[in-house]
């Protein structure tokens, strides 16, 4: 079963020798021990290296990574462009809020229920989307956005008035997530699991199905793929992950308010996958981290430059920055940060040769 596989996919690696079919889809090449060790070391030490503010930002970034990975499966792989990201985050947040804060259910139960609730809502909005294409799916999910945000606003007013729901401190049994440090480790584990799940989906029949259905429906049906089934699974899995992120975010912030989930949030998440790389897990990570940090970096830069802005105008600057970044990437690197990284890596692997693998369109 020896096969010489010349891997020339654009975002892949330069030619690689494979000696079994399993090697063609493995994630772990058995040579990354150094990277793994370095990664673990940095991760373990991270909360002690950075100050409290940066640790807080790291946690926000990790939650954003989970949500972006979820969105990218739906909007990047299955090409079902979703403006319902804020709605799915709200579903997760309020599922956790209602169960955890209002009824005192344990943390794990709330996380799980949030994910299941997200999946159900995803299927619900998926059904009318079955016969629709890109733009129209965006519109149905936009309708979902307003339906859900209205519902949670009404719930919030009825249940706790305007203050928002105060979330309990999660108890894992052996540790309480009261402080940024335990939160960081916990979020890191969750993020790594979600990233692994997304990579697994992409290298399995499930991910291929989604891309096939998005690329050519008639051909996908002729391959024996149930289009409705594939799309609903995409909605369910993606929304479950996003809602999980919503629940994590609610617990982490400590206070849950309906106003958090506005349409700008949904658009910022689309910006994350465009800047990071549509359909790429690495892209989701890079985009989420960059755009989570962007407003803080801007504030930092402006402070350093002696520009003092506040409130509305500051918000405006952030929006302009998001917009400009999306525009720049769409114009100059539609495949996002991930493609830039792959180019750099491939150049490094090939050096001093100049052979470039075929451009990949993924």
């Amino acid at each position: 079963m020896t096969v010489l596989s010349i891997q020339r996919r654009a975002m892949g690696r330069p030619p690689t020798l494979h000696t079994s079919y399993r090697q063609t889809f493995r994630l772990w090449r058995g040579k990354e021990w150094a990277w793994l060790l370095a990664g673990i070391t940095v991760a373990v030490l991270w909360p002690f290296i950075v100050n409290a503010f940066w640790l807080h930002l790291s946690n926000l970034a990790l939650i954003a990574v989970v949500a972006t990975v979820g969105l990218n499966l739906l909007s990047g792989n299955a090409r079902l462009v979703s403006l319902g990201q804020a709605a799915f985050l709200a579903v997760g947040g309020f599922a956790a809020g209602i169960l955890g804060a209002q009824h005192g259910f344990p943390f794990w139960v709330c996380l799980l229920t949030a994910a299941v609730a997200g999946a159900l809502v995803g299927i619900l909005v998926g059904v009318p989307s079955l016969r629709l294409k890109v733009v129209y799916v965006a519109i149905t999910t936009l309708a979902l956005h307003f339906a859900i945000t209205t519902m949670v606003s009404i719930y919030q007013v009825e249940a706790v008035r305007a203050h928002g729901i105060v979330m309990p401190i999660p108890d894992l049994g052996f540790v309480k997530l009261g402080d940024s440090r335990p939160w960081f480790y916990f979020l890191l584990v969750v993020t790594v699991l979600v990233i692994l799940a997304a990579l697994n989906i992409q290298r399995s029949y499930l991910g291929r199905r989604w891309i096939a259905v998005a690329d050519h429906e008639v051909a996908a049906r002729s391959a024996g793929i149930n289009i409705a089934g594939a799309k609903l699974w995409a909605f369910a899995i993606s929304s479950a992950i996003v809602s999980l992120a919503g629940a994590l975010g609610a617990y982490y912030e400590g206070v849950l308010t309906a106003e958090t989930y506005d349409i700008q949030l949904a658009i910022v998440y689309l910006a994350m996958i465009i800047v990071g790389g549509v359909g790429s897990v690495l892209g989701s990570v890079l985009g989420a981290v960059l755009l989570t940090l962007l407003p803080y970096m801007l504030d930092f830069a402006m402070k350093a430059g002696g520009i003092a802005l506040s409130g509305g105008s500051l918000n405006g600057i952030h929006s302009i920055a998001y917009g400009a970044l999306i525009l720049l990437f769409l114009l100059f690197e539609p495949l996002g940060l991930a493609a830039i990284w792959y180019r750099i890596r491939n150049a490094g692997m090939l050096w001093p040769l100049k052979y470039t693998p075929l451009e990949a369109k993924r």
Binding site: F25, N200, I201, D215, A223, N226, I237
Partner: protein, 263 residues
């Protein structure tokens, strides 16, 4: 009238009986009757707009015929959803390169092996035992088809970047990757160079002799059809006007008048 083709007493793999397909008031197929025996190459010819591709679409469930029957190995599959019919083992290539543009060649093939994958999609999230084993097994099966069609240099290339002729062959390869019990080819030779056509002819003959898959083949290149087909159906204006061996068709006056051109 159309004569019933003798298939040596065997049940035909595909048996189309009196199929009628209408779009509104336009009759695309009228009482089409056609059989694809379990061995050999059955060609379907006819002028543009005769309804050849429509017939494939009606057979594979992309279109729903108004009346008539489609039997696959004497199982009635009329009006079933397209993916259900495909799962029963009808592999199909398309006229206009309906490849999955974001996938590599091998991934295109694996998508067409979709019916050989089983299990709960949630298990794919963790890629445990069965998922991984299945991936390797199906990859091996897809590699057999790659070997057959000599596509080694392209297996890991994203299809978008490949030449038209190569993409066309990949369309046929992909249909065969399904391990189908019936292969439907929709003008696989259109737009190919002379050399690519000869390659294609070689593959089609080997599919017939080595893989013994029954083929229903739509084609406009009469030289190819006359040389390779075991039997031919002629479709005109949605109706079957003749059928027979290549020499019978060549001598058929009606066919010569309407399609081949009187000489």
């Amino acid at each position: 009238m159309v004569g019933m083709m003798q298939t040596g007493g065997q049940i035909p793999t595909l048996d189309v009986r009196g199929l009628t397909l209408r779009f509104g008031s336009v009759e695309v197929l009228r009482e089409v009757t056609l059989q694809v025996p379990s061995f050999g190459i059955t060609a379907l010819i006819g002028p543009n707009g005769a309804g050849k591709t429509a017939l494939l679409n009606a057979v594979t469930g992309i279109y729903r015929p108004q009346s008539g029957q489609v039997l696959l190995d004497s199982e009635d599959i009329t009006g079933l959803p397209a993916h259900v019919i495909a799962k029963k083992g009808i592999g199909r290539s398309f006229q206009h390169l309906e490849l999955f543009q974001r996938l590599t060649v091998i991934e295109n093939l694996l998508v067409f092996r979709d019916r050989h994958f089983s299990g709960n999609p949630l298990a794919a999230l963790w890629f445990l035992g069965k998922t991984a084993r299945q991936e390797a097994e199906q990859r091996a099966a897809a590699e057999d088809v790659i070997d057959f069609f000599e596509l080694w240099p392209y297996r890991d290339a994203v299809v978008t970047g490949l030449s038209y002729g190569t993409q066309k062959i990949i369309g046929v390869t992909r249909a065969m990757a399904m391990s189908p019990r019936l292969l439907l080819l929709d003008e696989p030779a259109s737009g190919l160079t002379r050399e690519e056509k000869e390659n294609l002819a070689r593959f089609i003959l080997r599919l017939r002799s080595d893989w013994k898959v029954p083929i229903l083949w739509i084609e406009h290149d009469m030289d190819l059809v006359m040389d390779l087909a075991d039997r031919i159906y002629v479709l005109e204006l949605g109706h079957c006007i003749a059928s027979g061996t290549p020499s019978e068709i060549r001598d058929n006056l009606e066919v010569r008048k309407s399609y081949l051109g009187a000489t």
